[in-house]
Symmetry: C2
Subunit: 366 residues, 2 copies
C-alpha cells in the first residue's frame, strides 16, 4: 500500500452521535475531509508547542476555506500540563475571541491535546462540536476513539472529564513521520493490546509485522491503525458508557496508571506505562490460570520488540497498592484489573491481594 | 392544602435519563424519598455555609440509613463562588475520601450549589449519580429541572458546564420557611416567567395569588412549584439540548445576564436580574408588535408586586450591548432575545439594535 493509498474509513455507530474516522495520507490538507462538518462561522485549532510548528499552519490554511475566522491556540506540551490551568487557557481563548456555541474545536496533537480539547468542547457553553486530528500513533489508535475526555487531578489521572463524541476524526498517517521513536513505541503498545484482549489473529499479524511497524512501514501502520480503530469501535459501540465490555480496553491500565502516578506524570509515556502494565496484567492472568507461561513469555517478548519497557519501576509494593486503590476502576476500596481469561478474551475482575503482591515483586525493579 | 399535603410528583421524561421531581413537605427526612436511587456505598452532601447549618444534619442522618459512608462538604455561599476554585473543592473532597464512580452526590442548597454539584457529578470520573435537594424557591422551580449545570468564567456566566440529569429532585417545601424575602421574590420571578411565554391561564392564577405567594401561603406555593415544574418539564422534554423550544425558558435572561455581569455577580440575585430583564424583554416585544402597551403595564405591575426590581441599573447602553454580545445565545456576534409573539407564546430571535437601544434607555436608570 503506497503512502497515497485509498482512504480508509471506520464508522463509529452511536445513534445520533455517530461519526467517521478517516485514515489516510495527506487527509489534513484535503478540504473534502471536512465536508460533513456542521456550518459555523468560527473554528479554533488547539495544539501544543511541539506539534503546532509542524502542522498548525497547514491545518489553519485549509480551515480558512471553510470558516470565516480560524484561531490557533498553543498549549504547553506534555501530560504534566493536562490540568485545569491549562484547560482554562482554552476557555480564555474561546471567550476572548467571542466564540459561540457553534464554534468547532480542532484538537491537533496527541492524546493530551485530544483529551483536553475534547473536555473543553464538552464543557464550553455546555458543548460545542469538535474534531480530532491526532498526530501520534497512540492517539490515532486510542484516544481519538471512544469519546473519553478528561484532565488530571493532583490525586489521580483522568479524574475530571466527560464522555463526549467528536464530529470527525482525521488520522493523517503523514504526521507519523515526525513522531519520536519512544512515542511510536508507545502507540505500538496500544495496538498490541487489542490482540490478547480481543483478536488473536491480529496478535499473530502484529507479531509477524512488529519490525515493519517499528521501521514505520506505511502499509503496516495503515493496517494497524485501521484494525485497532475497528476493534475499539466494535467494543465501544457495544458499551459507550463503560459499564461492561468496554472496560477490557483498560488492559494494563490499573498497573500502568500506578506507574505513571507513582513516577509523576510525564516521566514515562502513557503508552510505555500501559505496555509494562500489560506485561504485569498478563503475569497476573497466568497466576490465575487464564494463560500459560509460554504465552507470558511470547507476549513479553512482543512488548519488548516494540521498544517498550517490560519491568516496572521500583516504587515498592505498598505504594503500588495504594495508587491502584484510588484508580477509577476500584469500587468500595477493592482493586480491579482487566485480566485474560484466555488469549483473545479479557474480563474485569478483582484479584487476591496476595497474588497481586507476588506479581509486583516479580515484575518490578528493586 | 395543609403543609403535610399528599406528595406531588412530576416526571421528567428523557428516555433512559428520566427522573422524578417529588414535591411536598418533610420529604427530606423521609427515607422512602430515596428508595429509587442506585445502590452505592458512599454519598456526599454538598451544601453551603448558609444552608448547611439549617438542613445538612437531618439530610446526612437519613442518608446514613442507606449509605455506608456519608460525607458533608460546605462551600462558601454565593454566585461569586460559582467558579473553578470552589468547584475543585468538590473534586478534592471526593478524591480525598476515596469516592468511586458509584458515589451519589447530593446538592443541598440553591441554584449555585445545584449547578456546581451537578457539574461536579457530570465530570467526576466522567459522571456519577446526583440528587438535587433545592432549598430555595428559585432552585425548586428552575435550576432543579432541565439538567443544566455550569460554573461561571470571569468573561461570562455559566460558560463552562454540561447537560447532565439528576437521578431525583426533592423539593421539600419545608425548606422555604427559612428563605429570605429577597430570595423568595427571586423565585417568584421565575414562576411568573412561565405565564407570558407558555400559559396565560397560569399567569392569571399567579396574578390572583401573588399576595398569597409573597406571604408564603403553603397551598399557593405548592401549586406554583408544581405547575412551574410541569411546564418546564414539558418544554425540556421536547428539547433537551436547547436547540429550539427550550430557549424560550431564557425569557428575560439576555438582559438579565447583562445586569448580573455588569454589576458583578451577586450584587443582584439571579432572579432579580431576570425579573427586571423580563420587563425589558416585554417592552422590546411591545416595540416589535407582539404584545400591547396594556400587557406591558400589567406584566410590569405583577413583577413589582412580587417584590422584584423593574428598572435596570445604570450601566450605560453601550455596556449593556457589549455584555449581551458575549451571551451564549448570540451567534456570529448577533444578539438574540426571547420575545413574546403574543401573551402566552415566545420565540427566540434577533432584534434591530436601534429598538434595543430605545428599550435600554426607557427601562434603565440613568
Amino acid at each position: 500500500m503506497p503512502l497515497n493509498a485509498t482512504l480508509e474509513r471506520v464508522e463509529i455507530e452511536l445513534g445520533d452521535r455517530s461519526y467517521p474516522i478517516l485514515i489516510g495520507n495527506g487527509l489534513m490538507d484535503d478540504p473534502e475531509s471536512y465536508d460533513a462538518l456542521p456550518a459555523a462561522t468560527s473554528a479554533m485549532v488547539v495544539s501544543n508547542t511541539t506539534v503546532s510548528p509542524l502542522y498548525a499552519r497547514q491545518l489553519c490554511t485549509v480551515l480558512r476555506k471553510r470558516f470565516r475566522s480560524v484561531h490557533l491556540l498553543e498549549l504547553p506540551d506534555g501530560e504534566a500540563h493536562k490540568d485545569w490551568p491549562t484547560l482554562n487557557l482554552i476557555f480564555d481563548a474561546l471567550l476572548s475571541h467571542g466564540c459561540d456555541r457553534k464554534t468547532v474545536l480542532f484538537a491537533l496533537g496527541g492524546g493530551v491535546v485530544g483529551d483536553m480539547t475534547g473536555f473543553a468542547a464538552a464543557s464550553y457553553m455546555r458543548g460545542v462540536p469538535f474534531v480530532q486530528v491526532p498526530t501520534t500513533l497512540l492517539a490515532q489508535v486510542d484516544s481519538s476513539v471512544g469519546g473519553k475526555t478528561a484532565i488530571n487531578h493532583p490525586l489521580g489521572k483522568n479524574m475530571i472529564g466527560a464522555f463526549y463524541q467528536p464530529q470527525l476524526v482525521l488520522c493523517d498517517l503523514g504526521t507519523l513521520a515526525t513522531l519520536p521513536a519512544r512515542e511510536l513505541s508507545a502507540g505500538l503498545g496500544e495496538i498490541i493490546k487489542y490482540g490478547p484482549i480481543y483478536d488473536m489473529a491480529f496478535f499473530d499479524w502484529i507479531e509477524a509485522n512488529v519490525d515493519a511497524l517499528v521501521a514505520r512501514d506505511p502499509e503496516a501502520l495503515a493496517h494497524a491503525v485501521k484494525r485497532s480503530c475497528e476493534i475499539k469501535a466494535e467494543v465501544v459501540g457495544q458499551d459507550e458508557r463503560e459499564s461492561g465490555l468496554r472496560a477490557i480496553l483498560n488492559f494494563g491500565h490499573t498497573f500502568g496508571h500506578a506507574i505513571e502516578s507513582g513516577l509523576g506524570y510525564g516521566e514515562w509515556l502513557h503508552g510505555e506505562a500501559v505496555g509494562c502494565g500489560m506485561v504485569m496484567a498478563t503475569r497476573l492472568s497466568q497466576r490465575l490460570g487464564g494463560v500459560d507461561e509460554a504465552f507470558v513469555t511470547r507476549f513479553t517478548a512482543l512488548v519488548e520488540r516494540a521498544g517498550l519497557p517490560v519491568v516496572g519501576p521500583a516504587l515498592g509494593v505498598e505504594r503500588y497498592l495504594e495508587l491502584m486503590r484510588i484508580d477509577k476502576k476500584s469500587e468500595g476500596g477493592e482493586i480491579r484489573f482487566v485480566l485474560l481469561e484466555r488469549p483473545g478474551s479479557a474480563v474485569m475482575r478483582a484479584a487476591p491481594e496476595a497474588l497481586v503482591r507476588e506479581v509486583l515483586v516479580e515484575c518490578c525493579a528493586v
